[in-house]
C-alpha cells in the first residue's frame, strides 16, 4: 500500500491555491462584465486572491518543512520550467500574484480602469491556470492512477471558481464589520441592505450554475471509474459524502429557493446565503483532501 506523502497541509495548500485562482477569475469577470452592480465583488475577489496566495504559501512552506534548514531553497522550484508541471505552476502562481497586486493597487488608488480591465483579462487566464495546474499535476502522477482523469483539472477549475466566489462574497461583510475604513464601498454596500441582497441574489445564479457543472463532473468521474473507489473507503467515503451534501446539495438548494423566491424569506436571504457560502468553502476543502488522500491509498 502506498504511503501518504501529501497530507492535510498540502490539501489546504491546493484548496487555498484553487480559491486564489478562482477568486481572481471571478474578480476579472465581475470587473469586465459585472458593471456597477458587481464592482465590490471585483474588488473583493482581488483581495481574496492576494490573501489566499500568501496563506497558501505559508501552508506550502510548513508542509515542505525545510524553512529552518534552507529558507530560500523553495526558489529552486522555478528551475525546471517548462518540463516540470510543478515548476510551471510556480511561475503561474508568481505571475498571478503580480497581476493581483497590481490590480489591487489600481483599485485602492482608483487607477486607470482600462489598464485594470486588461490586467483582468491576463489575470483571468492565470487564475484559470492556477486552478487547473494542480489537477494536471495530479493527473500526470503515473504512480497514482486514481488521479489519471482529464476531468480532474476541470473539477478543480469549477471548484476553485465556486469557492473563490463564496469567499469573496463572505469577505465583503467581514471587512465592513472588522475594518470598514479599508474599503468604504464594502461598508456602504452592506449598509444598503437592498443593494447587498441584490448582489447576493444575483450571485446565486452563478453559484447555482457552477454547482450543477461541478455535480456533473463529479458524477462523470464516479461513472468513468476514477472516483468510484471513493465510495468504498471508510472514513474518506464519509468525508466525500459530507462534501456532496454540504458542499453541493445544500448550497444548490439554497441558491434555487432564493432565486425562486420560495421558502427563504427576504430577511433570511443574506444570512442563509452566508451560511451556504461557508458550506461551499468547507466542501471545497473536503473535495481536495479526499481526492489527494484517496489517490495515495488506492492502487
Amino acid at each position: 500500500m502506498a504511503e501518504i506523502s501529501w497530507g492535510i497541509l498540502l490539501a489546504a495548500y491546493i484548496f487555498v491555491g484553487g480559491l486564489a485562482g478562482g477568486a481572481f477569475m471571478i474578480a476579472a469577470l465581475a470587473d469586465l462584465f459585472g458593471k456597477e452592480k458587481f464592482k465590490e465583488l471585483a474588488k473583493a475577489g482581488t483581495y481574496v486572491s492576494i490573501v489566499s496566495i500568501i496563506v497558501g504559501l505559508v501552508f506550502l512552506v510548513l508542509d515542505l518543512g525545510r524553512f529552518k534548514v534552507d529558507p530560500l531553497g523553495i526558489l529552486n522550484a522555478f528551475i525546471h520550467f517548462p518540463t516540470s508541471i510543478m515548476s510551471v505552476g510556480t511561475w503561474i502562481i508568481s505571475a498571478l500574484t503580480v497581476m493581483a497586486l497590481l490590480t489591487a493597487v489600481l483599485w485602492i488608488f482608483h487607477g486607470l480602469e482600462i489598464v485594470r480591465k486588461l490586467l483582468g483579462i491576463v489575470g483571468f487566464v492565470l487564475g484559470a491556470s492556477t486552478t487547473a495546474y494542480t489537477g494536471l499535476l495530479l493527473a500526470f502522477s503515473r504512480g497514482r492512477p486514481f488521479w489519471a482523469s482529464p476531468f480532474l483539472p476541470w473539477t478543480f477549475i469549477i471548484s476553485g471558481s465556486l469557492t473563490g466566489l463564496a469567499m469573496s462574497l463572505l469577505l465583503i461583510p467581514l471587512i465592513a464589520l472588522v475594518m470598514p475604513r479599508f474599503s468604504t464601498d464594502f461598508k456602504e454596500l452592506v449598509d444598503d441592505k437592498q443593494r447587498f441582497a441584490d448582489v447576493l441574489v444575483g450571485s446565486q445564479k452563478y453559484v447555482l450554475a457552477m454547482i450543477i457543472v461541478e455535480m456533473g463532473l463529479v458524477l462523470i468521474e464516479i461513472v468513468t471509474g476514477h472516483f468510484g473507489a471513493l465510495l468504498t473507503l471508510g472514513g474518506l467515503s464519509m468525508l466525500f459524502f459530507v462534501y456532496i451534501v454540504f458542499g453541493l446539495i445544500l448550497p444548490l438548494g439554497v441558491a434555487y429557493f432564493i432565486l425562486k423566491g420560495k421558502y427563504i424569506g427576504k430577511e433570511l436571504q443574506v444570512p442563509i446565503s452566508m451560511l451556504s457560502f461557508i458550506f461551499i468553502l468547507v466542501g471545497g476543502f473536503l473535495l481536495r483532501y479526499v481526492i489527494l488522500t484517496a489517490g495515495q491509498l488506492v492502487l
Binding site: W6, L138, A139, F140, G295
Partner: protein, 257 residues
C-alpha cells in the same frame, strides 16, 4: 554508452547478497522487520523499499502443492530511459545521466515528494526526518570508476549482469523469442534494468504500464483535458440555450396572461 543491468530471474536463488551489499555500500541501516503478512510474499524481508532500503528481493510463491514454485525478484529503481521522476522534479534534483543512472542531487531538493507520486514503480521513498528522498543510485560513482554496482558484484549466480543498454535489450529480446517474459523493454518507454522471467510479471507484483514515455503520457492527458473542455463547453452552451429558450417561453406565457 548507456549502461544497463539484465536481471535474469530464472537464475536468482533468493540469497539476498544484493540486499546486504547495497546496504553496506550505501551505508544504510538494518531496520527491524517482521514476517510479511501477505501469504504470497511471506519471506520477503524487508517488506519493501524505504529510505534505508534501496533494494530488496521479493519472494513470490506461485501455484500450489506439486506445482508450487518460488520466484525471487530483485526490486530497485529501474533507471528509466525517460524517467517520470526527472520530468516531475521542479528543481532538477533528479537527473538522467548519459551513463544510464538516474541520480539524485540532495542539495537541490525542496522535499516536495512529487517524484514519490510520479514514479510508475513507487520507488523513491521520502525520509520524513531529513525531508529528502532516497532511492537506488545504480552505484553511479562506482560506474564512473568502471566498477560494477555493489549488488551486481555480490550476486553469486550471475542473475545481475552489467552491460550496455543495447546488449541488455538484445539479450532480453532473444529470451522473449524463446518464450520468456520480459519487463522493461517497452514499459514507460523502456528502462535500464531489464528483467527476464519464466513467470508472468503480473504474478510477481510488477505494475502494468503502457509504453508511453513520461512526455507522451503527459501530452496524452493534456490532449484529453482539452478535448473534455470542448465537450464541457458544448454541454454548457447547449444548457444555456435550453435555459434561455425556457425562460422566453415562460415570459411569453406570463405576457399572454
Amino acid at each position: 554508452m548507456s549502461k544497463a543491468v539484465l536481471v535474469d530471474l530464472r537464475r536468482c536463488i533468493g540469497c539476498r547478497a544484493c540486499q546486504v551489499a547495497c546496504k553496506r555500500w550505501n551505508d544504510r541501516e538494518a531496520t527491524p522487520t517482521e514476517l510479511n503478512s501477505d501469504s504470497k510474499l511471506e519471506w520477503t524481508n524487508p517488506p519493501g523499499l524505504s529510505p534505508q532500503t534501496y533494494t530488496y528481493v521479493r519472494f513470490v510463491k506461485t501455484g500450489s502443492q506439486d506445482s508450487l514454485k518460488w520466484t525471487f525478484a530483485k526490486i530497485q529503481c529501474n533507471h528509466c530511459i525517460q524517467p517520470h521522476c526527472v520530468t516531475a522534479c521542479p528543481t532538477t534534483a533528479l537527473v538522467k545521466t548519459e551513463d544510464g543512472p538516474v541520480i539524485y542531487r540532495k542539495e537541490l531538493c525542496i522535499g516536495c515528494a512529487y517524484c514519490v507520486n510520479a514514479c510508475p514503480f513507487d520507488v523513491p521513498k521520502f525520509d520524513e526526518e531529513n525531508k529528502v528522498i532516497e532511492k537506488c543510485t545504480f552505484c553511479s560513482e562506482r560506474l564512473k570508476e568502471n566498477i560494477e554496482p555493489a549488488c551486481v558484484q555480490a550476486c553469486p549466480t550471475n542473475t545481475l549482469v552489467l552491460t550496455s543498454l543495447e546488449e541488455a535489450r538484445r539479450r532480453a529480446a532473444e529470451a522473449s523469442a524463446e518464450g520468456n517474459y520480459i519487463y522493461g523493454l517497452d514499459e514507460v518507454g523502456g528502462t535500464s534494468w531489464i528483467y527476464i522471467s519464466e513467470v508472468p510479471f503480473t504474478e510477481l507484483g510488477f505494475p502494468s504500464h503502457t509504453k508511453a514515455t513520461a512526455g507522451e503520457y503527459q501530452q496524452d492527458i493534456i490532449t484529453k483535458f482539452a478535448g473534455t473542455g470542448i465537450l464541457i463547453g458544448g454541454a454548457l452552451l447547449a444548457g444555456l440555450k435550453l435555459y434561455s429558450q425556457r425562460m422566453n417561453k415562460v415570459a411569453e406565457a406570463e405576457g399572454g396572461e
